[in-house]
């Protein structure tokens, strides 16, 4: 493979990985991987969930020790054993999962881990300067726990960029940014990279991002380098095929990958909804019909009010109904109350006012687990926070919300748990060496799948899915969409919380728009146009 990349002319590449191998017990995470990053180049790294992308990058950053292989920086062999050495060599990374300390402020988080004296004013100024430069505005004095996921992601990026890395690794940096936000970011990043001669490795599952923002692209499959070429010479479908090893339908799923043209999504997507679903099971027949029948709302939210600890209004008399068999999308710009609603429906907090009814019966929200008991399945937005216990096994995580079913009077029924876990691992294609492996050792996308598997398999009456495709690879997104439609077809009321217009248009039959904690309007997907939605998002009635 390496011969078509070998360049005899020009300076030594900024970074070169040669024959990197890493094995975890029986799992070969990386298998003799070669990777070259030239100066001024953005190198896309693709691969299925569990292909070994993060592991390879952790080797580069000194977080994981490779079993074999070598790293060359500007043509000279280097040893990277700790993140500090990596930093000295000008290597920086934004990790797949947040690594911010929540009670600290933005500037404190940015300064964290830097040697030398810490000066508040310089760092604050830096944060603002970097933010202005790359279009990542964030208040340096804000406390991180108050920030939305998108803002946190910006802080991570600023933290890495401020250290002025010569080679920057971005591991799914945009999964919580909207397509528009990430497009803006990459445009700036690209020009900056080219002008300053930096190298960037970009890991992403959003093919649009890869095709738009990278110069060359490499695909990992099961730890091996499966494909490598210049981005200009390939296409999204080709990349998807190289990744999965088969053809992937990129129709509606294209939404989550950012492949759908965004000028007029309604027009563009109608044919997709009408019949272009390919291998995907048939769409629920006319879900709108059931939505009109009064009294059948499987999930009804009435007058929900929540005030934040600082007195800020998070939810403001929020009303929303989802009927059985219908997919309703809650669409809006990130940070307008979606996270609060997600927490509320996960049973993590009780509202100040208002009620939640499931199947017509009110649920007492201050009893933990009451919502789950009533049949509400939740795929939380931040899976690490409330979705999983990283230090427990895959099997334990798969049954965690339904312990009574898997235990006798006193003791857990291990055999039954294993059987259930093995079935789910099989059904949801979770890649793990065994169901006893700690969840922490799974790849990011496979951790997501564990949550999806658990919540979908609990036969919920209502399924709340917040950003369900974040972190999933192409194949898994395809699968996810099919499952959501399947769930709706079998009578589950699905509430899809999403910031992606295309995803919303592709999946939902009705779209509720949230702005400043209020529902500003509910539209049938047929009546929805970007203009009308845009007005609602801005808080005006359409």
């Amino acid at each position: 493979m390496s011969h078509d990349r070998a360049r005899t002319d020009g300076p030594a590449p900024a970074l070169e990985l040669r024959g990197i191998s890493k094995r975890y017990g029986p799992v070969v995470a990386c298998d003799a991987v070669d990777l070259t990053v030239q100066r001024g180049e953005v190198h896309g790294l693709l691969g299925e969930n569990g292909a070994g992308k993060s592991t390879l990058m952790k080797v580069l950053l000194g977080l994981v020790h490779a079993d074999a292989g070598e790293i060359l920086r500007d043509g000279a062999r280097v040893e990277v054993h700790t993140p500090l050495q990596a930093a000295e060599l000008g290597l920086g990374m934004v990790h797949q999962h947040f690594s911010l300390i929540e009670p600290l402020t933005v500037w404190e988080n940015v300064a964290l881990g830097e040697p030398g004296r810490v000066d508040r004013n310089t760092i604050c100024a830096d944060v603002e300067a970097v933010g202005a430069r790359y279009g990542l505005a964030v208040d340096p004095t804000a406390t991180v726990e108050r920030l939305s996921a998108g803002e946190r992601q910006r802080v991570e990026l600023i933290k890495a960029l401020r250290r002025d890395p010569k080679v920057l690794v971005l591991d799914e940096p945009t999964s919580v940014l909207t397509i528009a936000e990430s497009a803006a970011l990459f445009e700036v990043l690209r020009t900056a990279v080219a002008a300053e001669g930096r190298g960037v490795i970009l890991i992403s599952h959003k093919l649009a991002e890869i095709t738009a923002a990278t110069d060359v692209v490499s695909v990992l499959r099961r730890g091996r380098l499966a494909f490598h070429c210049r981005t200009a010479d390939t296409s999204a479908p080709e990349l998807a095929r190289q990744m999965v090893g088969r053809d992937v339908s990129l129709r509606a799923e294209g939404a989550a990958l950012g492949l759908v043209v965004t000028d007029d999504p309604a027009k563009h997507l109608t044919p997709v909804l009408a019949g272009g679903l390919g291998a995907v099971p048939a769409e629920p027949p006319a879900p709108e019909a059931s939505a009109d029948v009064p009294g059948t709302a499987a999930l009804a939210l009435h007058g929900l009010c929540v005030a934040g600890p600082d007195g800020r209004t998070l939810l403001d008399h929020l009303d929303l109904e989802v009927a059985t068999g219908e997919i309703v999308a809650l669409y809006g710009v990130e940070g307008n109350g979606q996270a609060t609603l997600g927490d509320l429906l996960s049973g993590l907090m009780a509202p100040d006012a208002g009620e939640v009814r499931v199947d017509g019966r009110p649920v007492s929200l201050d009893r933990p687990g009451a919502l789950h008991h009533a049949g509400v399945g939740v795929i939380p937005e931040d899976r690490h926070r409330s979705g999983v216990v990283l230090d427990m096994s895959v099997a334990d995580n798969l049954v965690m919300t339904d312990l009574r079913r898997f235990s006798g009077r006193l003791l857990m029924r291990r055999a039954q748990i294993r059987a259930q876990a093995e079935e789910l691992v099989e059904r949801f294609a979770i890649r793990t060496p065994s169901v006893d492996a700690p969840l922490r050792t799974l790849s990011g996308g496979n951790q997501q799948r564990v949550v999806l598997a658990r919540e979908l398999s609990a036969n919920p009456v209502v399924l709340v899915a917040a950003q369900p495709t974040h972190g999933l690879d192409v194949g898994a997104i395809e699968d996810m969409y099919a499952r959501l439609r399947e769930a709706a077809a079998s009578g589950v009321a699905v509430l899809l919380i999403s910031t992606e217009l295309e995803e919303v248009m592709a999946l939902a039959s009705r779209i509720a728009v949230i702005s400043s904690g209020r529902i500003t309007g509910v539209l049938d997907v047929a009546d929805a146009s970007p203009q009308r939605l845009g007005m609602l998002v801005g808080g005006e009635a359409a």
Binding site: E79, H373, V388, V389, M392, E422
Partner: protein, 400 residues
């Protein structure tokens, strides 16, 4: 290659497997060997230092080492004493394991143990009835006493959010005052005095028929009821933590409270009861000391068993199965030290010697971790800057 879900995973483990597993005997890694090596070294250094100290105090180092050994594990009499000491340590440690698992850090065992001993003493001296009933009631009451004491901390934490570490610690000092008061008030627990001299600040002795039985006769090995209770509790707790729904929920709460809540765990109930339970174990330890060895309530009855028991749990990384051998080890240090005191070495020196030995067993895991990290950081320093421009070592490039 990587998607294996079949029976290739771990086979079903029988009960014994769980216990062995929770003791940590599964895979002695390189780290384990390093830690063992460091431990041997540390103990040697501690013994050396102790010997040195004793020499300065005009004692004989050889006799010190000999006394430490004879008093703890040299013969059945030593072992008997070691086990007597190990029982309350183990009970306290079990309680600490429960609280730590749930993510609430109780450090007030010393006070909970005192209160337990006091309540147990009250019951034993006031309640009339057949011996075994009174003993049982007294032990249960001791557990209740300790549980109630830590329950105060639980209530403060889950209603007002007051830090558990702070409240359990401060309540220890209050507990000491309460016991002082009790043994100084004739209307409460102060001894009647036998007509000879004034009453001292301690309770009457518990009558003979209320003392915990032990099996075996000196000089054979004797095993007290306290030891049996502690070992049974260890096994039960190890199984419950590893296999019960309660243990599962407790672990979940400790590792990720948010996810636990999502899964229906009410932190105030489960975490609060874990804290109460850990106090109850400390209280029970107080009862066992009272009825098993000291027989009367004295302000010094706790004798650091609470602190040391907490230490046992920490060394055992909150695993009951591992706490058992660690408690025996700490028990041996205690019996060795008291034997040493009996040979005429001054008390303060005995304390120093004991502290040195405890350190020798607590420190090695930490040193081992630091060392491992050091090794990793050090290696490349000698390596990296040495080849600045030796571009691309002549290794073949084509590797695929």
């Amino acid at each position: 290659m990587t998607t294996v879900s079949g029976p290739a995973g771990t086979p079903r483990r029988p009960l014994a497997g769980y216990i062995v597993g929770s003791v940590g005997l599964r895979r002695p890694s390189a780290d384990a060997w390093r830690t063992a090596g460091i431990t041997v070294l540390c103990v040697a250094v501690a013994v050396g230092l102790a010997a040195l100290l004793v020499t300065f105090a005009d004692g004989s180092p050889v006799e010190v080492v000999d006394a430490l050994f004879t008093g703890s594990v040299a013969d059945t009499a030593g072992w008997s004493q070691t086990l007597v000491n190990a029982a309350p340590l183990l009970l306290v440690a079990l309680g600490a394991c429960i609280a730590n698992r749930a993510g609430v850090f109780n450090i007030g065992q010393e006070g909970q143990l005192l209160i337990g001993a006091m309540v147990g003493c009250f019951v034993a001296l006031r309640l009339q009835g057949p011996g075994w009933i009174v003993i049982t009631v007294a032990l249960v009451a001791a557990a209740f006493g300790g549980g109630a004491w830590s329950g105060i901390s639980a209530a403060m934490y889950y209603t007002r959010g007051t830090n558990v570490v702070v409240t359990t610690l401060l309540l220890t000092f209050i507990a000491a005052q309460v016991v002082q008061f009790a043994v100084n008030s004739p209307s409460l627990l102060q001894e009647e005095g036998m007509g000879s001299g004034p009453a001292r600040p301690q309770s009457d002795a518990v009558p003979d028929y209320l003392r915990l039985a032990s099996f075996g006769q000196y000089p054979d090995l004797t095993i007290g009821v306290g030891v049996i209770v502690a070992v049974v509790a260890t096994v039960v707790l190890a199984v419950l933590l590893a296999r019960s729904r309660w243990g599962f929920r407790l672990t979940m709460l400790g590792l990720n409270p948010m996810a636990a809540r999502h899964a229906g765990v009410r932190a105030s109930r489960l975490g609060g009861s874990a804290l109460v339970l850990s106090g109850a174990f400390a209280g029970l330890a107080g009862g066992v000391i009272l009825l098993g060895t000291v027989f009367r309530l004295q302000p010094a009855i706790s004798n650091n068993f609470g602190w040391d028991g907490l230490l046992v749990a920490l060394v055992a990384r909150s695993r009951p199965g591992l706490a058992l051998p660690v408690a025996v080890l700490f028990g041996a240090l205690r019996s060795g030290s008291s034997y040493l005191a009996a040979t005429g070495v001054p008390d303060y020196l005995v304390d120093v010697v004991q502290a040195l030995l405890v350190l020798a067993f607590v420190v090695p895991p930490v040193l081992s971790t630091l060392w491992a990290r050091r090794l990793r950081n050090r290696a490349p320093v000698a390596d990296t800057p040495a080849r600045p421009t030796a571009a691309a070592p002549a290794k073949e490039e084509v590797q695929v």
